[in-house]
Amino acid sequence: MLIFEISARNRRAAVQAPRPIATPKDIPQHLLRTSRPLLPEVSELQTVRHYTQLSQKNFSIDTQFYPLGSCTMKYNPRGVHALASLEGFISHHPLTPEAHSQGYLKSAYELQDILAHVTGLNAVSLAPMAGAQGEFAGVAMIRAYHLARGDTARTEFLVPDAAHGTNPATAVMCGFKVKEIPTDKNGDVDLDALKQAVGPHTAGIMLTNPSTLGVFERQIRTIAKTVHEAGGLLYYDGANLNAILGKTRPGDMGFDVMHINLHKTFATPHGGGGPGSGPVAANDRLKPFLPIPRVAFENQTYRWLTEKDCPQSIGRLSAFVGNAGIILRASIYARLLGREGLCRVAEYATLNANYLMVRLQKAGFTLAFPTRRASHEFIITFKQEAKTLGITAKDIAKRLLDYGMHAPTTYFPLLVAECFLIEPTETESKEELDRFVDALIAILEEAKTSPELLKQAPHTLPVRRLDDLKAAKDLDLRWQGTIA
């Protein structure tokens, strides 16, 4: 039932609203609303019960293993959430003068500092509100850098074919043409193709390392040299930073600018698809172009840097300071972990991924890159099963839901057919990983004996498999009834 369908005309949770008053007389009649918006008309208990019941129809990290590749679904510590929700932070207006904002500013400044150390890029802006906005900021900074030097010929951005879809979409938003670079059979960038592609039109390249294929790009030094020699700059997509914390740094690899997904590596809750936060880090060459505002520490006081301090900045990305509450959570998380804990993140995320990969290989599953180490994630492909059993990655994913586990990322990267991209994260126990392997083994057995069980899956969830075709063709994007 929709909340509208349990509504009744003129039922109200009146204690929630201010005392009613008459419609104002100073506003001209023709500028007032005359229609009644379709909002629910329910009691407080009905609301609480309805949304509690809806929540119970979700999988979440708090309730299920969630090995979604490239998304880093790790545990979101409760203490962090509680501390970021303290009254002084939660009631704080974003335009409050700095003298009354020192507590927040200090936490933001500390996060800037930690991110600089972790990335090897020494200037950080926390302004971007999501990874995709961080990407936009980084690519716009590269654009601004070339233009500031009077170099107007650089109109192309290079993007590997294995990249996240946001990469090419971002380059286009920044006004660039996209040139795709192919990947070789071991999952590395095709160097010959790269050398062919670079030139005086190259503004830069966007790379993820470890790549979306779950392996470390070993020729990164050569790639950086090739692009830099052609006059282009390197953008690092920080989606996979969890794999390398304290082990290697994008700044040392030769990258000029990158974004960090706080909702992945720094354990802030994903909230059903956001909010995220995507700070950007840059080297000295690109520092002047970072988005505003940033936090500075001068004369024992924290303050915001604005247009006046940063005349070459690409500008603002939001009305205020970015997703402050997420920034606060990431700062608290990073300081709880400290230098030892941050390195352990990469170590145990990598351990869990390699353990899971080897166990699945031994159980007969096909790895996409069997000769490579897993980073914090890896790919298995069901291409063979699709041919011999007529079972797709989607069928197996849906059946996993019946086993009480969220499916890994399916059909991404696009380069590997019928694939699962699996990222267990460091916060899962060995027992949980073993249960996952057992489930996949059992499902593969079912695929042989009773394939219909998979094709009809899921069987135990609030709904059976949904008709996506109908959803896209007979668009039903809002309820069009009336409250009785």
Partner: protein
């Protein structure tokens, strides 16, 4: 897979074209519709628009993908398939006839890159 109609020309980007005097009718091949899956929406060009061959001119959208359609020939758009608005599934059901996309009044030479049915089949076999 449906057999390739022999009277059509094909492009390497999987459009087909049928030429009747000055008018070229364009659609996407059976192979292309099969790759896309169930088509849910088609974005068609404005009538009167002038094109070079290779121009992006339409978008065919399925649940999981969206593909650009490139004009295989140069000319001016004279008609679009009116049935696709309500029944985009015609592209899946009958790609070479009822599922046509648009018509173009030819201007200039046919591009030499257009393939015969035989050559297009060879291209598909190689993929």
């Amino acid at each position: 897979m449906k057999p390739l109609p022999q009277n059509l020309k094909y492009s390497t980007t999987h459009e087909w074209v049928r030429i009747d005097n000055e008018i070229a009718t364009v659609g996407i091949s059976d192979h292309a519709q099969a790759l896309l899956g169930d088509v849910v929406f088609v974005e068609l060009p404005e009538i009167g628009k002038t094109l070079s061959s290779g121009d992006e001119i339409a978008v065919v959208e399925s649940v999981k993908a969206a593909a650009d359609v490139y004009s295989p020939v140069p000319g001016q758009v004279t008609a679009v398939n009116p049935k696709l608005q309500d029944s985009p599934e015609l592209i899946n059901q009958d790609p070479y006839d009822q599922g046509w996309l648009f018509q173009i009044r030819l201007q200039g030479d046919l591009p030499f890159t257009l393939l015969s049915a035989e050559d297009y089949q060879a291209l598909l076999d190689a993929e």
